[in-house]
């Protein structure tokens, strides 16, 4: 791409394509950010191992997918069933991993100084990365969603063009639709769970005042466990989505994704669920648009993302939807 960036007016098709990419990426970042934000909300700690849970989820999906194959990229079951199973297994595995991390690495430090669980989280992160390196090797694994079931994920979809010489085109492959749709479904389910269910209310009560929640008969340990399960499962789903989208999984992939998820959570207002969704979308869009419209954007998209983080922190330290208004009474 040119050093001197384009503007949307030069080519609307590129603009539309960047929107598609941005929303797709943003959906994934939002899923990762949610786990960060939920855990912060309830424990006031940054779970630096969250990106690595996402990585393990991605590997789980990879192994599920390859084990379900009957010959090269020929599925033994219908593709929708295969994808659903892959997603569910990755979510379950990542969720259980999150629960185990909380139980063994964070809970014993619940009453320790705040720095202790942070260091423990970094330790868990290294542990997971190196375990993956040891178990799965240093080479990239390929999801190869391109050839899956004859490549329907990429050949089907919405491909339309309008205007003179088809100047305005929309390319929305099935895979992107599935990723965006899947993320939206998960986020709606999460929102309903938090707003309506007994567990969701217990989560909000515990996040606000753990001791008061215990005084109502809520078992905070159980609620914290459920929070880790849900947050980690969402990261596992994101891992599968990224594997399908970009094809490659490797032991270190959780680092940058975790950092982006964290950025999204902070930009949106850490602790806030709608904030994490908004932050994720924003980061995905910035990343996509910087590749198109900002100088050297395709090399420096991460740079622009972190510029956004710094800018938000300077002008709105609580994040876009974070609130400092309702303090503890």
């Amino acid at each position: 791409m040119d050093v001197l960036a384009l503007t949307p007016w030069d080519d609307w098709s590129i603009f539309i394509q960047l929107c598609v990419n941005g929303v797709t990426l943003g959906s994934v970042y939002a899923l990762i950010a949610l786990g960060y934000s939920m855990v912060y909300g309830i424990l006031k700690m940054l779970n630096f191992a969250h990106g690595d849970v996402y990585m393990i989820g991605s590997f789980l999906g990879y192994f599920m997918l390859t084990s379900g194959l009957d010959g090269p990229m020929n599925l033994a079951v219908p593709i929708w069933l295969a994808l659903t199973l892959v997603l569910l297994v990755a979510m379950l595995g990542a969720g259980l991993l999150g629960v185990a991390i909380e139980r063994f690495a964070y809970r014993p430090l619940r009453n320790a100084p705040r720095i202790a669980p942070l260091i423990s989280a970094l330790g868990v992160s290294f542990f997971l990365q190196n375990s993956a390196l040891l178990l799965f090797g240093a080479n990239f694994r390929t999801y190869d969603a391109f050839t899956l079931d004859g490549g329907v994920l990429f050949t089907k979809g919405i491909f339309e063009a309008w205007g003179k010489d088809d100047a305005i085109a929309l390319n929305l492959p099935l895979l992107n639709m599935l990723v965006i749709g899947g993320a939206i479904v998960l986020m709606i389910l999460l929102t309903l769970l938090v707003a309506r269910t007994r567990l969701g209310k217990a989560m909000r009560a515990t996040a606000f005042d753990r001791e008061a929640a215990a005084m109502m008969g809520i078992n905070p340990d159980r609620v914290i466990m459920a929070t880790f399960f849900i947050g980690s499962a969402l990261a596992g789903a994101a891992g599968v989505m990224v594997g399908m989208l970009f094809g490659q999984v490797y032991h270190f992939m959780g680092f940058l994704a975790g950092l982006k998820g964290f950025t999204a959570a902070v930009v949106g207002g850490i602790g806030s669920i709608p904030g994490a969704m908004l932050g994720g979308l924003l980061i995905g869009m910035i990343e996509a648009f910087s590749t198109g419209y900002l100088p050297e954007g395709s090399k420096f998209q991460d740079f622009y993302v972190f510029i956004l983080l710094i800018a938000v922190m300077l002008f709105r330290p609580t994040g876009l939807l974070g609130r400092a208004d309702i303090a503890k009474v």
Binding site: R198, R204, A205, F208, A213, I326
Partner: protein, 250 residues
């Protein structure tokens, strides 16, 4: 109180067992000894008040009843059962509820949701529970969709009380319910406590306001640096010279 811990349930003669009994409770926070052999009891349907100065250990006593704080030695017996080793949710399921110090409402949740949390172990409460609370505090019905953190102090006190009543407790623990309320609201508050008590709920209330609380209580205890230094019928305590000097006079 001379029974060994394993015979706690055996009571002598026809004296009814108290609803709540603390036996020689010793509590530490870290290395600091807070409660030093606190023994007290609340009988079925009784209104008992616990008086004491700042940092004397009143809140710690209530938290020990509820199981938020675990004693180092001593026993907590509730409704004929030794619950010392039992978690808080077990005790709540057996019939305890608390109005905590400073109310501790869930500020970002609605009034209704706060009430639901009070009946958490009953699945968030059935219609009758809400009706009962709304009848006692009609204002809460009006405000049910408002965030608890945006209510006035007096309204918040109603939510805290309603929340505790949602679980249909046998014993209501209250930690300084009149703290931070205007005098008129303090009076109104105690009227409600009396009303709840007259409905058959035993009440164990911590207060610094000895005059008002003793005037409605059956009995009282006075705590001083983690020891019960005085106990008796509320009417006797109201007459007690030492207590008058310490709490009532000025």
């Amino acid at each position: 109180m001379t029974e060994a811990p394993d015979t706690v349930l055996a009571r002598d003669g026809d004296r009814p067992a108290p609803l709540l009994e603390l036996r020689e409770i010793v509590t530490y926070y870290g290395e600091i000894n807070i409660l030093r052999q606190v023994s007290l009891q609340v009988n079925h349907g009784e209104l008992v008040c616990l008086l004491g100065g700042n940092a004397s250990g009143k809140s710690t006593t209530l938290k020990t009843c509820l199981g938020i704080v675990r004693p180092r030695t001593g026993r907590v017996v509730f409704d004929g059962e030794d619950v010392t080793g039992r978690p808080t949710n077990y005790r709540i399921a057996r019939g305890m509820a608390i109005v905590p110090e400073n109310r501790r409402l869930f500020a970002p949740m609605t009034v209704r949701e706060n009430l639901e949390m009070g009946a958490y172990l009953n699945g968030g409460g059935v219609k009758e529970d809400f009706d009962r609370v709304y009848e006692l505090f009609p204002l809460l019905h009006e405000r049910r969709s408002q965030l608890a953190g945006t209510l006035s102090g007096g309204e918040q006190q109603m939510v805290a009380m309603g929340r505790a009543l949602m679980s249909r407790p046998k014993l209501l623990l209250m930690d300084e319910p009149s703290m931070g309320l205007a005098p008129i609201l303090v009076e109104r508050n105690f009227e409600i406590i009396k009303q709840v008590h007259e409905a058959g709920v035993a009440v164990f209330v911590v207060e610094q306001n000895a005059n008002v609380s003793l005037s409605i209580a059956d009995r009282g205890y006075v705590l001083q640096t983690g020891r019960v230094v005085l106990e008796g019928a509320a009417s006797d305590l109201l007459q007690n010279e030492d207590l008058r000097k310490a709490y009532l006079g000025r």
